[in-house]
Amino acid sequence: MVPWYMAFLIGGTLCLIGQLVMDLTKVQITPGHILVGYITSGAILSGLGVYQPLVEIGGAGATIPLSGFGHLLTQGTLKAVEQKGLLGAFSGGIEAAAAGIAAAVIFGYIAAVIFNPKG
Protein backbone atom coordinates (compact mmCIF):
# COMPACT_ATOMS: atom_id res chain seq x y z
CA MET A 1 0.00 0.00 0.00
CA VAL A 2 1.15 3.51 -0.80
CA PRO A 3 1.76 5.69 2.28
CA TRP A 4 -0.46 8.78 2.52
CA TYR A 5 2.41 11.26 2.38
CA MET A 6 3.48 9.97 -1.04
CA ALA A 7 -0.09 10.51 -2.30
CA PHE A 8 0.08 14.03 -0.83
CA LEU A 9 3.45 14.76 -2.44
CA ILE A 10 2.70 13.43 -5.94
CA GLY A 11 -0.89 14.72 -6.00
CA GLY A 12 0.19 18.12 -4.71
CA THR A 13 2.96 18.35 -7.31
CA LEU A 14 0.58 17.52 -10.19
CA CYS A 15 -1.79 20.27 -8.99
CA LEU A 16 1.13 22.69 -8.55
CA ILE A 17 2.12 22.16 -12.19
CA GLY A 18 -1.44 23.03 -13.26
CA GLN A 19 -1.38 26.19 -11.15
CA LEU A 20 1.95 27.30 -12.65
CA VAL A 21 0.60 26.72 -16.15
CA MET A 22 -2.42 28.90 -15.31
CA ASP A 23 -0.41 31.71 -13.68
CA LEU A 24 2.67 31.86 -15.88
CA THR A 25 1.23 31.56 -19.40
CA LYS A 26 0.09 34.67 -21.26
CA VAL A 27 -2.97 33.03 -22.80
CA GLN A 28 -6.16 32.88 -20.78
CA ILE A 29 -6.42 29.31 -19.45
CA THR A 30 -9.80 28.22 -18.08
CA PRO A 31 -10.45 25.28 -15.74
CA GLY A 32 -11.88 23.49 -18.79
CA HIS A 33 -8.55 23.78 -20.59
CA ILE A 34 -6.78 22.37 -17.53
CA LEU A 35 -9.11 19.36 -17.44
CA VAL A 36 -8.71 18.66 -21.17
CA GLY A 37 -4.95 19.17 -20.92
CA TYR A 38 -4.58 16.79 -17.99
CA ILE A 39 -6.69 13.95 -19.38
CA THR A 40 -4.85 14.22 -22.71
CA SER A 41 -1.35 14.37 -21.24
CA GLY A 42 -2.18 11.55 -18.83
CA ALA A 43 -3.36 9.34 -21.69
CA ILE A 44 -0.23 10.13 -23.76
CA LEU A 45 2.23 9.66 -20.87
CA SER A 46 0.51 6.38 -20.08
CA GLY A 47 0.98 5.24 -23.68
CA LEU A 48 4.68 6.07 -23.41
CA GLY A 49 4.88 3.97 -20.24
CA VAL A 50 5.78 6.93 -18.03
CA TYR A 51 2.59 7.16 -15.98
CA GLN A 52 2.44 3.66 -14.46
CA PRO A 53 5.66 4.17 -12.42
CA LEU A 54 4.11 7.38 -11.05
CA VAL A 55 1.06 5.36 -9.91
CA GLU A 56 3.36 2.82 -8.22
CA ILE A 57 5.03 5.61 -6.23
CA GLY A 58 2.14 7.99 -5.64
CA GLY A 59 -0.96 5.78 -5.55
CA ALA A 60 -4.06 7.96 -5.33
CA GLY A 61 -1.74 10.96 -5.75
CA ALA A 62 -1.40 9.87 -9.38
CA THR A 63 -4.81 8.27 -9.98
CA ILE A 64 -7.06 10.98 -8.46
CA PRO A 65 -5.77 13.85 -10.67
CA LEU A 66 -7.49 13.82 -14.06
CA SER A 67 -4.26 12.68 -15.71
CA GLY A 68 -4.91 9.40 -13.86
CA PHE A 69 -8.26 9.17 -15.67
CA GLY A 70 -6.41 9.51 -18.98
CA HIS A 71 -4.02 6.79 -17.80
CA LEU A 72 -6.99 4.54 -17.03
CA LEU A 73 -8.42 5.11 -20.54
CA THR A 74 -5.12 4.23 -22.22
CA GLN A 75 -4.36 1.19 -20.07
CA GLY A 76 -7.91 -0.15 -20.54
CA THR A 77 -7.56 0.31 -24.30
CA LEU A 78 -4.14 -1.40 -24.48
CA LYS A 79 -5.29 -4.37 -22.38
CA ALA A 80 -8.43 -4.81 -24.50
CA VAL A 81 -6.38 -4.63 -27.72
CA GLU A 82 -4.31 -7.58 -26.46
CA GLN A 83 -7.47 -9.62 -25.95
CA LYS A 84 -9.78 -8.48 -28.76
CA GLY A 85 -7.60 -6.65 -31.27
CA LEU A 86 -9.27 -3.82 -33.18
CA LEU A 87 -12.57 -4.10 -31.29
CA GLY A 88 -10.67 -3.61 -28.04
CA ALA A 89 -9.22 -0.33 -29.29
CA PHE A 90 -12.78 1.03 -29.37
CA SER A 91 -14.23 -0.61 -26.25
CA GLY A 92 -11.37 -0.90 -23.75
CA GLY A 93 -10.91 2.69 -22.65
CA ILE A 94 -14.52 3.46 -21.86
CA GLU A 95 -14.99 0.07 -20.19
CA ALA A 96 -12.11 0.80 -17.83
CA ALA A 97 -13.37 4.31 -17.08
CA ALA A 98 -17.06 3.34 -16.92
CA ALA A 99 -17.42 3.56 -13.12
CA GLY A 100 -16.06 7.11 -12.99
CA ILE A 101 -18.04 8.32 -15.99
CA ALA A 102 -21.32 6.83 -14.75
CA ALA A 103 -20.80 8.26 -11.26
CA ALA A 104 -19.97 11.70 -12.65
CA VAL A 105 -23.03 11.78 -14.93
CA ILE A 106 -25.52 10.41 -12.38
CA PHE A 107 -24.29 12.18 -9.21
CA GLY A 108 -23.64 15.32 -11.23
CA TYR A 109 -27.18 15.36 -12.61
CA ILE A 110 -28.80 14.66 -9.25
CA ALA A 111 -26.76 17.33 -7.45
CA ALA A 112 -27.53 19.89 -10.18
CA VAL A 113 -31.27 19.14 -9.87
CA ILE A 114 -31.40 19.23 -6.05
CA PHE A 115 -29.22 22.27 -5.37
CA ASN A 116 -29.39 25.84 -6.64
CA PRO A 117 -26.42 28.08 -7.49
CA LYS A 118 -25.33 30.38 -4.65
CA GLY A 119 -25.36 34.16 -4.96
Binding site: Q19, G32, T40, L73, L86
Partner: protein
Protein backbone atom coordinates in the same frame (compact mmCIF):
# COMPACT_ATOMS: atom_id res chain seq x y z
CA UNK B 1 -7.04 56.10 -45.90
CA UNK B 2 -4.90 52.99 -45.17
CA UNK B 3 -2.51 55.24 -43.26
CA UNK B 4 -5.23 56.36 -40.95
CA UNK B 5 -6.18 52.73 -40.33
CA UNK B 6 -2.58 51.84 -39.57
CA UNK B 7 -2.40 54.70 -37.15
CA UNK B 8 -5.57 53.48 -35.46
CA UNK B 9 -4.23 49.94 -35.23
CA UNK B 10 -1.03 51.20 -33.65
CA UNK B 11 -3.03 53.13 -31.07
CA UNK B 12 -4.99 49.98 -30.24
CA UNK B 13 -1.79 47.98 -29.89
CA UNK B 14 -0.27 50.60 -27.63
CA UNK B 15 -3.38 50.59 -25.51
CA UNK B 16 -3.39 46.80 -25.23
CA UNK B 17 0.28 46.86 -24.23
CA UNK B 18 -0.47 49.35 -21.51
CA UNK B 19 -3.49 47.39 -20.31
CA UNK B 20 -1.41 44.21 -20.12
CA UNK B 21 1.30 45.96 -18.12
CA UNK B 22 -1.22 47.35 -15.65
CA UNK B 23 -3.01 44.04 -15.16
CA UNK B 24 -2.32 42.75 -11.65
CA UNK B 25 0.22 39.92 -11.65
CA UNK B 26 -1.15 36.78 -10.00
CA UNK B 27 0.50 36.07 -6.63
CA UNK B 28 2.34 33.04 -8.06
CA UNK B 29 3.97 31.76 -4.87
CA UNK B 30 0.84 32.03 -2.74
CA UNK B 31 -1.32 30.39 -5.44
CA UNK B 32 1.22 27.60 -5.84
CA UNK B 33 1.27 26.78 -2.14
CA UNK B 34 -2.53 26.72 -2.01
CA UNK B 35 -2.74 24.50 -5.08
CA UNK B 36 -0.08 22.11 -3.76
CA UNK B 37 -1.59 21.76 -0.28
CA UNK B 38 -5.26 21.49 -1.28
CA UNK B 39 -4.51 19.20 -4.24
CA UNK B 40 -2.29 17.08 -2.02
CA UNK B 41 -4.96 16.83 0.69
CA UNK B 42 -7.65 15.78 -1.82
CA UNK B 43 -5.34 13.02 -3.09
CA UNK B 44 -4.50 11.99 0.49
CA UNK B 45 -8.22 11.60 1.20
CA UNK B 46 -8.40 9.49 -1.97
CA UNK B 47 -5.53 7.32 -0.71
CA UNK B 48 -7.22 6.79 2.67
CA UNK B 49 -10.46 5.72 0.95
CA UNK B 50 -8.57 3.48 -1.48
CA UNK B 51 -6.65 1.81 1.37
CA UNK B 52 -9.98 1.15 3.10
CA UNK B 53 -11.41 -0.54 -0.02
CA UNK B 54 -8.23 -2.61 -0.45
CA UNK B 55 -8.47 -3.51 3.25
CA UNK B 56 -11.91 -5.06 2.73
CA UNK B 57 -10.49 -7.25 -0.03
CA UNK B 58 -10.96 -5.36 -3.29
CA UNK B 59 -8.29 -5.62 -5.99
CA UNK B 60 -6.23 -2.50 -6.53
CA UNK B 61 -8.04 -1.65 -9.74
CA UNK B 62 -11.51 -2.10 -8.25
CA UNK B 63 -10.50 -0.13 -5.17
CA UNK B 64 -9.32 2.67 -7.45
CA UNK B 65 -12.65 2.73 -9.35
CA UNK B 66 -14.64 2.66 -6.10
CA UNK B 67 -12.51 5.53 -4.76
CA UNK B 68 -13.28 7.61 -7.86
CA UNK B 69 -17.01 7.03 -7.31
CA UNK B 70 -16.81 8.16 -3.66
CA UNK B 71 -14.68 11.22 -4.50
CA UNK B 72 -17.07 12.23 -7.31
CA UNK B 73 -20.05 11.85 -4.97
CA UNK B 74 -18.39 14.00 -2.29
CA UNK B 75 -17.42 16.66 -4.85
CA UNK B 76 -20.94 16.79 -6.36
CA UNK B 77 -22.36 17.26 -2.85
CA UNK B 78 -19.76 19.87 -1.88
CA UNK B 79 -20.44 21.78 -5.11
CA UNK B 80 -24.20 21.67 -4.52
CA UNK B 81 -23.96 23.20 -1.04
CA UNK B 82 -21.43 25.77 -2.32
CA UNK B 83 -18.34 24.69 -0.34
CA UNK B 84 -16.33 23.51 -3.32
CA UNK B 85 -16.42 26.79 -5.19
CA UNK B 86 -15.39 28.69 -2.04
CA UNK B 87 -12.41 26.36 -1.80
CA UNK B 88 -11.73 26.78 -5.50
CA UNK B 89 -11.34 30.57 -5.17
CA UNK B 90 -8.16 30.01 -3.14
CA UNK B 91 -6.98 26.58 -4.25
CA UNK B 92 -7.12 27.19 -8.03
CA UNK B 93 -5.66 24.20 -9.82
CA UNK B 94 -5.55 22.33 -6.50
CA UNK B 95 -9.32 21.97 -6.77
CA UNK B 96 -9.49 21.67 -10.59
CA UNK B 97 -6.92 18.98 -11.38
CA UNK B 98 -8.25 16.16 -9.12
CA UNK B 99 -11.26 14.18 -10.35
CA UNK B 100 -13.31 16.17 -7.82
CA UNK B 101 -12.71 19.19 -10.08
CA UNK B 102 -14.22 17.26 -12.98
CA UNK B 103 -17.33 16.53 -10.88
CA UNK B 104 -17.40 20.17 -9.78
CA UNK B 105 -17.33 21.38 -13.40
CA UNK B 106 -20.26 19.09 -14.22
CA UNK B 107 -22.48 20.22 -11.35
CA UNK B 108 -21.55 23.91 -11.47
CA UNK B 109 -22.30 24.31 -15.18
CA UNK B 110 -25.51 22.25 -15.01
CA UNK B 111 -26.99 24.10 -12.00
CA UNK B 112 -26.93 27.41 -13.85
CA UNK B 113 -29.16 26.13 -16.64
CA UNK B 114 -32.08 24.74 -14.68
CA UNK B 115 -34.41 27.37 -16.12
CA UNK B 116 -33.87 25.82 -19.55
CA UNK B 117 -35.43 22.63 -18.26
CA UNK B 118 -34.32 19.35 -16.78
CA UNK B 119 -33.75 17.59 -20.09
CA UNK B 120 -32.13 20.12 -22.41
CA UNK B 121 -31.01 22.49 -19.66
CA UNK B 122 -29.43 20.37 -16.94
CA UNK B 123 -29.15 17.24 -19.06
CA UNK B 124 -27.20 19.00 -21.80
CA UNK B 125 -25.12 21.35 -19.69
CA UNK B 126 -23.57 18.66 -17.49
CA UNK B 127 -21.42 18.06 -20.57
CA UNK B 128 -20.38 21.64 -21.31
CA UNK B 129 -17.00 21.05 -19.64
CA UNK B 130 -17.09 17.26 -19.21
CA UNK B 131 -17.86 16.77 -22.92
CA UNK B 132 -14.62 18.22 -24.33
CA UNK B 133 -12.65 16.45 -21.60
CA UNK B 134 -14.11 13.07 -22.53
CA UNK B 135 -13.84 13.69 -26.28
CA UNK B 136 -10.09 14.30 -26.09
CA UNK B 137 -9.52 11.54 -23.54
CA UNK B 138 -11.39 8.98 -25.67
CA UNK B 139 -9.72 10.17 -28.87
CA UNK B 140 -6.17 9.88 -27.52
CA UNK B 141 -6.81 6.46 -25.96
CA UNK B 142 -8.39 5.16 -29.19
CA UNK B 143 -5.47 6.51 -31.21
CA UNK B 144 -2.95 4.77 -28.94
CA UNK B 145 -5.01 1.56 -29.19
CA UNK B 146 -5.03 1.75 -33.00
CA UNK B 147 -1.27 2.31 -32.99
CA UNK B 148 -0.86 -0.85 -30.95
CA UNK B 149 -3.13 -2.81 -33.31
CA UNK B 150 -1.03 -1.77 -36.31
CA UNK B 151 2.32 -2.32 -34.61
CA UNK B 152 1.41 -5.82 -33.42
CA UNK B 153 -0.14 -6.93 -36.74
Amino acid sequence: MPEVNNHKLKKIEEYEDLANRCKPKPPVVKNSIWAFVVGGLICTLGQVIQNYFMGIGMSRQDASSATSIVMIFLAALATGVGIYDELGKRAGAGSIVPITGFANAIVASAMEFKREGYIFGVGARIFSVAGPTLVFGFAVALFIGLLKVFISS
